[in-house]
Amino acid sequence: MTDHDDTRCNDMLGSLSDYVDGELREDLCREIEKHLAGCANCRVVVDTLKKTVYLYHETARIGEIPVDVRERLFKRLELEDYLKKS
């Protein structure tokens, strides 16, 4: 626990989104990685935060629009003639 420095951890928090998105400036990345090397808690936060973002992004793959919903939409928009082609 000796390597745990709350102030450093909290300072890092604000850059975390950019960091996991790979959009953080190179020098700031180095700083974060230096901190991560010595701070187990922040490593867990970064790894689980990355995974959180990944898992939600994956949910966009499933759940296409149901056939009946599409059909009612086309009828509502008076596009019945175009229901078949797609």
Binding site: S17, V45, T48, Y56, E64, R72, L73
Partner: protein
């Protein structure tokens, strides 16, 4: 995200070309429906948002100048429709995370269990998906909308800002808060899965 935006003829859409409209509907109805469903959690409400979005789009195509992509523009209409439904359901109760001036301390991580290397079968089980959806709906409206657009739909920070009329800084602040809040919730859930994995 907008790869097929340019494939549509704005001229035809403004003139009320039905075939072109049908192509636009097929290209974008999936993402609009998903946004509404994630935001509202109710298929009937999501369908209302979907239909109203395209009805409004048809009405406003003549005024659409094409400065943003069709996709961004449709998202913007859909986001407003979804927020309108939420307002009707529960008018203006202040929720933590609603205010930009909130202390960042409210978002400090408290869970430090590393569940990130759980097998994919655990992480993405159908039970886990139900939990993920429920966790998103625990977010305040403002955090939820930013999170869904950026992290589920995959819009950029700039596009998310365009859809919601927010600065990039505001988008980033909300996004970070949403992500941190969801990480805590997911830690609650996966910590238990991890424990059972270790027993086996």
């Amino acid at each position: 995200m907008d790869e097929n935006s340019q494939d549509f003829s704005l001229e035809a859409l403004r003139a009320g070309d039905r075939a072109e409209l049908a192509r636009v509907v097929d290209a974008y109805s999936g993402q609009i429906y998903r946004l509404a469903l994630k935001m509202l959690g109710n298929p009937q409400d999501a369908e209302d948002v979907l239909q109203n979005t395209f009805l409004k789009a048809i009405l406003h195509f003549p005024n659409f100048e094409g400065r943003s992509s069709i996709s961004t523009w449709l998202y913007r209409i859909a986001a407003n429709e979804a927020l309108m439904i939420l307002r009707k359901q529960k008018p203006e109760i202040p929720v933590p995370g609603e205010d930009e001036t909130d202390e960042d301390d409210d978002y400090l991580p408290v869970q430090f269990v590393d569940w990130s290397s759980l097998p994919e079968t655990e992480l993405a089980s159908s039970e886990a998906h139900t939990y993920l959806d429920a966790a998103v709906r625990q977010l305040s409206e403002k955090l939820r909308m930013v999170f869904i657009l950026r992290d589920v739909e995959g819009l950029s920070i700039r596009e998310t800002g365009e859809v919601l009329g927010l600065t990039e800084t505001a988008v980033k602040t909300r996004l970070l808060r949403a992500r941190l809040q969801l990480r805590e919730q997911l830690s609650d859930y996966y910590r238990e899965r991890l424990r059972q994995e270790n027993i086996r």
